[in-house]
C-alpha cells in the first residue's frame, strides 16, 4: 500500500522495477512529465491515475483532480497541456448520476484549464473489484518558450519559491473521510497551476531551473527528491512556510507535519537568485498567486537532504515520508 503514497516506497518501486525493465537507458531524470521529439517537434507527455476516497470532497472531486493533476504535471515540467485522454475504470453498479457528475466536473475543469479532452475509454469491472471509480488521464503539451527544467542545473544560492499555502488538499481529504470526526472549514486546493507557471515564466523564464507539484508526500518529499537529484541541500525557513490555521490545527492534533501533507494546486520552483524577485512578483500579482513566498534556498550541505531552519536558528532534517501520513496519539 505504501507504494502509492508518493514517498520513499513509490520511488523505490519506480527505480527498482519500472525503470530497469521499461526504460533501461533513461534519457532524463525522473520528472513529472517526459520530453519527447516527434519529427523534430518537442513535446511533453505524462500520465496519472486518480483514486481518491471520497470521490467528492469540499473544494473538488475526482474528475477535477484528474484534469488538474495531469495539467499540473505538464506545467511543472515547463509545458502547456494541449490535449488530454481519459480512461474510466468503473465498478459495476456505480450510479450513473455519479459518473455524470464527474464527467461534468472534468468538462468544467478542462474548460477552466484551457485544454481539450480528445479521446477516452471506459472499462467496467465486477462489483467489489474496484472502489466506485478510478480515472486515468494522459496529457500532451507544448514546451513553454525559454523554460528548461533540470534538477542538475540547480546551484547553491538558488531560491526556492512556493506558490501558496500547503496541506489543504490532504487535510481536507482526511477530514472528509469522516473517520476522525473532525470538522473544519477547509477546501481542497485543486486547481490548474498553468496560468501561474506561465505568469512566472513570462518574467523569469531563463532563471527557472526546476519545478514540481508537491502532491502525495507533500513538499518534504518533492524537496527531498530535488536534493537527491541535484546532490545539494535545500534549506527551508519554517517561518516562511504558508500554512492555514485549520491545517496547522489538524496537524497538531494528529501529530502530522504539514510538509508531508498532499497538495493539488501548488507548485515549487527553484529560481536563480537574480530572477527570484521577478519570479515572485509575477506570481504574487497573478490571480491565485497572492500567497506565494520564497521559502528557502539551495546550499551545499548537508548534501542530499532537506533542512528546516526554525525562527530561532535551530534546525532539523525533514525526510521523505514512509507510506501515508498516519494520525498518531503519542
Amino acid at each position: 500500500m505504501a507504494h502509492g503514497a508518493g514517498g520513499k516506497a513509490s520511488r523505490k518501486l519506480v527505480e527498482g522495477l519500472f525503470i530497469p525493465l521499461l526504460a533501461p537507458q533513461p534519457s532524463q531524470l525522473l520528472g513529472d512529465a517526459a520530453q519527447v521529439q516527434i519529427n523534430g517537434a518537442p513535446l511533453a507527455i505524462t500520465t496519472d491515475s486518480f483514486v481518491v476516497k471520497p470521490l467528492r470532497f469540499p473544494g473538488g472531486s475526482i474528475g477535477e483532480l484528474a484534469v488538474n493533476g495531469t495539467m499540473n504535471d505538464l506545467a511543472v515540467s515547463g509545458a502547456r497541456g494541449e490535449a488530454l485522454t481519459v480512461t474510466f475504470v468503473l465498478e459495476e453498479g456505480l450510479p450513473t448520476e455519479l459518473l455524470e457528475a464527474e464527467v461534468r466536473a472534468m468538462a468544467a475543469a478542462a474548460d477552466r484549464a484551457g485544454v481539450a479532452v480528445v479521446a477516452g475509454d471506459t472499462k467496467v469491472v465486477e462489483h467489489g473489484k474496484a472502489d466506485k471509480m478510478y480515472i486515468t488521464t494522459t496529457g500532451i503539451g507544448e514546451p513553454l518558450p525559454g523554460v528548461k527544467i533540470d534538477a542538475r542545473s540547480v546551484r547553491p544560492g538558488d531560491k526556492v519559491i512556493l506558490s501558496g499555502p500547503i496541506g489543504d488538499h490532504g487535510i481536507t481529504i482526511l477530514l472528509a473521510r469522516g473517520d476522525l470526526d473532525f470538522e473544519a472549514d477547509l477546501r481542497s486546493d485543486t486547481r490548474c497551476v498553468l496560468a501561474l507557471v506561465e505568469a512566472m515564466a513570462k518574467e523569469a523564464a531563463p532563471g527557472i531551473r526546476w519545478m514540481r507539484d508537491p502532491t502525495r508526500g507533500g513538499v518534504a518529499t518533492s524537496l527531498n527528491e530535488l536534493a537527491r537529484d541535484c546532490g545539494l541541500s535545500i534549506h527551508v525557513l519554517e517561518q516562511e512556510l504558508p500554512v492555514r490555521d485549520e491545517v496547522r490545527g489538524a496537524c497538531e492534533l494528529l501529530g502530522l507535519d504539514p510538509l508531508h501533507i498532499a497538495n493539488e494546486g501548488q507548485f515549487l520552483a527553484v529560481v536563480a537568485p537574480e530572477y527570484a524577485d521577478a519570479a515572485l512578483n509575477a506570481l504574487t500579482l497573478a490571480e491565485g498567486g497572492e500567497d506565494a513566498r520564497i521559502i528557502g534556498d539551495v546550499r551545499e550541505q548537508p548534501a542530499g537532504a532537506v533542512l528546516v531552519i526554525t525562527g530561532y536558528g535551530a534546525s532539523r532534517i525533514v525526510d521523505m515520508l514512509v507510506g501515508d501520513p498516519l494520525p498518531r496519539i503519542c
Binding site: M1, K12, Q239, E252, P302, G313, I329
Partner: protein
C-alpha cells in the same frame, strides 16, 4: 494557536537558551533523561540540541508506549483479527509496528479489517454502528491514555454494548523509571518529567526519585520554551545542590493530578503482577489489566489469545537504546538492517521512538557535522 505559539517565541527562546548557557558549569558533563517520548520528539522537531551547550546530554527514556511493547503482545492482538467478524482498531501509531507476521497495516493488506481510530470512544462508536461485528480496541499508552480507555469501558458497560472489547497494553511510568535507575550502567543527573502523564498522576509519585536517588525532576511541558525552562530549573537545582520535584507545566498539570481520571482507572483496571517490556524485560506491577468485573469487555479473557513470547533479534540493541545506554546510531542495526521503511524494532517505527526520531531528524545532520569537523 493559543497556549502553543507563545511558547515557541523565537526571541524568548534565544533568551532562555542563553540562560541555560549561563547556568552550566563548563567543567561538568550533564546527563538528563527525558522520560517521555513526546519530549524526545519535541527535542528533534524543534532542533533543541542546537540550542543547548555541548556538555548537556539528553538521554531518551522509556516513555514511548509503542516502543516498549514486546512483539508477542502485537502478535497476540493481531491473532484476533484473523476472525473475519472482528474489526481490529488501534491508534495510527501502532499501524506500522512489526509483529512476527507483519504489522497491522500488512494484515489489513491481506484482508483483515484493521482500522485507525483517533480515540477509544471512536472504537466504541464503531461497535454501536456495527452491531453484527465485534470491535476490538488494541489499547496502548501510559497513565495519560489509560483513563480514556477506562471511561470508554465504563460507558460500554452502562449502555450494555457487548460487541466491544479492549486488548489492554496500558503500562505505568514509575516502575519503568525505577527499572532504569536500577540498571547498573546508568548514570543520570536529573529527569525531565513527563508532562502529560502528570496531568493524571500529579507530581507526588516522583518524590522518591529526589528522596532516594537525590536527583532533581522537573515535570515539563512540550513546547520549546517549556523544555528550556525545565532545563534552567534543573540546572538551578543542581547548582544549589538541591533535588526536588518541580512543576514547570503548571498551566496544565495540577500537583495532585486528576482524581476523576484516577478513579476511573481504579474502577476498571488493576495492576498486573508483572509485564514484559521490550528491552527492559519483566517489570513487576508495571502494567494494567482489566478487572474481572469487566471480563466481558476484556479481549484477553473473552478470546483465546496465544500468549506469544518473541525474543527480539539478537543483533538489535533496542533495550540498550531504551535504557539510554546506547545512542540510536550506536546500535549495530541502525540505518542498515533497521530503517524507518524496514523497522526491526519499534523504536524505529514510532515518531517518538528515539531511533526513528534520530534517523529522520538528526542522523544526516550528525554526518554533516562529522564532515565539517573532518574538514
Amino acid at each position: 494557536m493559543r497556549f502553543v505559539d507563545e511558547f515557541r517565541d523565537p526571541e524568548i527562546i534565544t533568551k532562555a537558551a542563553a540562560e541555560v548557557h549561563r547556568l552550566v558549569d563548563p567543567g561538568r558533563h550533564y546527563r538528563f533523561m527525558e522520560v517521555c517520548g513526546g519530549h524526545t520528539h519535541a527535542i528533534y522537531r524543534f532542533g533543541l540540541k542546537d540550542l543547548l551547550p555541548e556538555n548537556i546530554e539528553l538521554i531518551h527514556g522509556p516513555g514511548c508506549p509503542v516502543c516498549v511493547l514486546p512483539m508477542g503482545r502485537i502478535d497476540d492482538g493481531l491473532s484476533l483479527c484473523q476472525d473475519s467478524n472482528v474489526i481490529f482498531t488501534a491508534f495510527g501509531d501502532m499501524m506500522r509496528v512489526p509483529g512476527t507476521h507483519g504489522s497491522p497495516l500488512e494484515h489489513k493488506a491481506r484482508g483483515a479489517d484493521v482500522r485507525i481510530v483517533y480515540s477509544p470512544s471512536d472504537a466504541l462508536n464503531l461497535a454501536r454502528a456495527n452491531p453484527d461485528r465485534h470491535v476490538m480496541f488494541f489499547a496502548i499508552g501510559f497513565e495519560t491514555t489509560a483513563p480514556s480507555t477506562a471511561l470508554t469501558l465504563l460507558r460500554a458497560r452502562v449502555e450494555g454494548i457487548k460487541n466491544f472489547s479492549v486488548f489492554c497494553n496500558h503500562v505505568t511510568i514509575i516502575p519503568a523509571i525505577r527499572a532504569i535507575l536500577d540498571s547498573p550502567d546508568m548514570r543520570l543527573d536529573a529527569f525531565i518529567g513527563p508532562g502529560h502523564v502528570s496531568t493524571v498522576i500529579g507530581c507526588r509519585p516522583y518524590e522518591w526519585i529526589c528522596r532516594n536517588e537525590n536527583k532533581p525532576i522537573v515535570v515539563s511541558g512540550f513546547e520549546p520554551l517549556d523544555m528550556l525552562q525545565s532545563i534552567v530549573m534543573i540546572l538551578r537545582q543542581l547548582n544549589a545542590g538541591e533535588a526536588k520535584v518541580e512543576n514547570q507545566y503548571k498551566r496544565v498539570v495540577p500537583w495532585e493530578g486528576n482524581r476523576a481520571a484516577l478513579r476511573a482507572m481504579a474502577e476498571v483496571f488493576q495492576l498486573r503482577p508483572y509485564f514484559e517490556w521490550r528491552g527492559l524485560g519483566f517489570i513487576s506491577q508495571s502494567a494494567l489489566r482489566i478487572r474481572d468485573e469487566f471480563a466481558e469487555w476484556d479481549a484477553e479473557q473473552r478470546f483465546q489469545v496465544p500468549g506469544v513470547r518473541v525474543t527480539d533479534p539478537r543483533a538489535a540493541q533496542c533495550g540498550e537504546v531504551l535504557k539510554g545506554v546506547l545512542k540510536p546510531h550506536q546500535c549495530k542495526l541502525f540505518g542498515r538492517e533497521c530503517t524507518p521503511e524496514h523497522p526491526i524494532g519499534a523504536l524505529m517505527v514510532s515518531t517518538e521512538g528515539s531511533c526513528a526520531a534520530y534517523h529522520s531528524y538528526e542522523h544526516r545532520k550528525q554526518l554533516l557535522t562529522n564532515i565539517q569537523t573532518a574538514a
